[in-house]
């Protein structure tokens, strides 16, 4: 080996790095959004549409409105591959970017959210984990820096049981019914279990918890078990490749698709399209509309894709997870807008954006104005309630597109909220946190 060359090359690289690091100049009046994405790895089919949704909405704000009230939106992607250690690295890398640091983090992984919750409260950067993450973060008295609107896994599970009860004709008919919870064997997948157990006790249905190990390509034994149980309903908390495998396996054992309900991370186009006709009739929950017929999509196609609907489609515009990215980005920017009303139209710090999140009030009027009419329900976050327990709806895949298959279902607040408060209190005790007073 030529050592002189090696030494020279290393020295050269070091010098280059120094120069480029120094060249980074300061910027002004920009609102920086870090983006933890996963465009590669086992979860890429789910990660790409979400990331595109974020990117397009932020770009749209700059192109259409010139930013948020004149403050340019900047963003930077960091690849996590849905892995927690890479997520932590990305967080540390991006948290100080922009003139005032990161506005808020959307970790887009329950595992990463768990990692970031303690760190973010110390760094004073809010976390917006929309419909995922730690459920008990809904208790804003303990989790001051974490927001998980519009509904959590526990609220969702209660809404799904409500839906099942309507299907069988009332809560009393649930007794003796067999329900399987097929879940990803991780922090994320296990979240709904305690609530389902409480509900099983209350309504007398027989609950079986069936875990699937990461990443979920191998489910043969789980489906053998399901075939033996012959459940009346299957509720699935899956993610990534696990979903399409499950849907295919369900088709293989001729399980009736209309008794198979995925949660909102198990109901995207990437989950059903690979299963082909077998997925027809598959149900899943959601808290926003699918498709590209909403006002915001018209703007995106016009301003970003120059009216080219085919190119937009290629970039997943209108897919379930694309829309979720857009909705999430909208929540984030509205929080910044809310905070701007108090602190002025300039670059805001994480602390100020947190105030915006806590006072976020998205009315029907705002939704109509922003082009989200009929796509999202209004939402009002309070100091105490960081979740809002927004309504959930069941959507159905007809082989080509998703359509609503139920009315909006409100979660069972009387059951879920005490569980949330108990878990938050336990967390506060374990970590020496004194819950703040919200009155």
């Amino acid at each position: 080996m030529k050592f002189r060359k090696l030494v020279l090359a290393t020295a050269g690289a070091v010098v280059c790095l120094g120069t480029f690091a120094a060249a980074e100049a300061a910027k002004a009046d920009e609102q920086f959004f870090p983006m933890l994405v996963y465009r590669t790895g086992a979860y890429a089919p789910s990660g790409i549409p979400v990331a595109n949704g974020f990117r397009d909405y932020y770009t749209l704000l700059n192109k259409r409105d010139g930013g948020i009230n004149g403050v340019t939106v900047t963003f930077e992607e960091c690849e996590t591959q849905y892995k927690t250690n890479l997520g932590v690295e990305c967080y540390e890398k991006l948290k100080g970017n922009g003139p005032t640091g990161a506005s808020l983090f959307n970790p887009y992984s329950t595992g990463i959210t768990y990692q970031l919750i303690p760190k973010a409260s110390v760094d004073k950067i809010p976390i917006l984990s929309m419909g995922y993450g730690r459920t008990s973060a809904a208790d804003g008295r303990v989790f001051e820096w974490v927001f998980n609107p519009p509904a959590t896994y526990w609220s969702q599970a209660s809404a799904v049981i409500k839906y099942f009860s309507r299907r069988v004709g009332g809560y009393d008919k649930l007794a003796g019914k067999k329900i399987v919870h097929l879940h990803h064997n991780s922090a994320y997948g296990k979240e709904a279990n305690p609530t389902l157990e409480v509900l099983a006790e209350r309504y007398g249905f027989k609950l079986t918890l069936v875990p699937v190990d990461h990443p979920g390509q191998e489910q043969a034994s789980q489906w053998r078990q399901i075939r033996r149980i012959k459940p009346d309903f299957i509720f699935m908390s899956g993610w990534g490749v696990m979903n399409q495998v499950a849907i295919k396996e369900a088709g293989n054992i001729r399980y009736p698709m209309d008794q198979f309900v995925g949660n909102w991370w198990s109901g995207s186009d990437a989950d059903v399209v690979p299963a082909g006709d077998g997925a027809k009739g598959y149900l899943s929950t959601t808290f926003h509309g699918a498709g590209s017929d909403f006002g915001v999509h018209a703007d995106i196609i016009k301003h970003i894709y120059g009216g080219d609907a085919a190119a937009a489609k290629e970039n997943k515009v209108g897919e379930v997870l694309y829309n979720r990215g857009v909705v999430n980005a909208m929540f984030a920017t509205e929080a910044v807008r809310t905070a701007q009303a108090k602190f002025g139209n300039k670059s805001l710090t994480g602390e100020q954006v947190r105030w915006g999140l806590e006072n976020l009030n998205i009315t029907q009027e705002t939704l109509d104005k922003l082009g989200f009419k009929g796509m999202v329900s209004p939402l009002k976050i309070t100091c105490e309630d960081h979740e809002t327990m927004g309504p959930v709806i069941i959507q159905k895949w007809d082989g080509a597109k998703w359509s609503y298959a139920s009315e909006w279902l409100t979660p069972m607040r009387d059951i879920v909220r005490p569980l949330v408060e108990a878990d938050a209190a336990a967390y506060a005790k374990e970590n020496n946190i004194t819950p703040r007073n919200c009155n």
Partner: protein
Amino acid sequence: MFYREAGQFKTTYQDDQAVFPVLQDKVAVILLILAAYAVPFVADEYWLQAIFIQFLVFALMAIGLNILMGYAGQVSLGTGAFAAVGAYACYKLTTNIEGMNIIVAILLSGGCAAAVGVVFGLPSLRIKGFYLAVATLAAQFFILWLFNKVGWFYNNNPSGTITAPPRELFGVLITGPSASPEARYIVCLTFLIVFAWFAKNLVRGRIGRNWMAIRDMDIAAEIIGIRPLQTKLMAFAISSFYCGVAGALMIFCWLGSAETEAFDLANVSFRVLFMIIIGGLGSIGGSIMGAAFIILVPIFLTNFPPMVGLDISTALQKHLEEIIFGVMIVFFLIVEPEGFARLWQILREKLRKWPFPY
């Protein structure tokens, strides 16, 4: 920097048996350690928290695996599992025993990992090589499954995640979210230095020689009076102890909280295996160099294109990183199959004859 060791004559056995027999080496290592302790004064939080602490934790784990694989010749794929035992044990110890010193808890959790390591090391008497690797693979799957399945291990919280509670040492927070990255770094660095020093001495002594004898030819070793069972189990115990301590540090000083997925085959076991292969089997220094390579190079490759102003998409960047990193490993293993430790050795030999190497 360029020095020759000729002329440093040893007149006592003690001098001859020193860890670093050459004065300049000793000075260099001391300077390196001092520099490592000075890093918090210059590095920012990203470097400390995301990169250096990760490197220290993995270096410790690599030393652990190198003891088992490089010195004792027992192939193991259970590194992640033993690290998980350490992490979960430390979590249980700190949350369930009031007022326990965090360092004691970390060392005790290393002890738990050692006990588990001995159990899974038992088959090593009968099976060898790849067959043993498969047996330790069973440890990897079984232990993670157990920690995922039994709620007691994670205090029955709904998500199955363990979180490091805040703990102090000499009045300074070293774990938990409010602990400064500097304090965590210092703790991990101290652990690495002490454990590396201990390992270095261990492998030079009787135990290390026994391990190497077993590794090189177990029947011959047995004939000259080395008891294979004890020797192999000792290697499993000490190796798992290192991995367990590293696992506890991983949760308490680096990640802050984790689920079993953080210890899986690809994230930990294989990664550490690659570290010691790249770094050099049977070398303590090599373990550290290998860890540096596997941790730092991908981070450098991801951050490099934006630094030079190349605007490429995130996905392409990640794919490029994987391609280049893979090519580098293949190239390096062709050029120097015995790893960085051997490269370092060659470099020194060349310097010894400098300026006229042959």
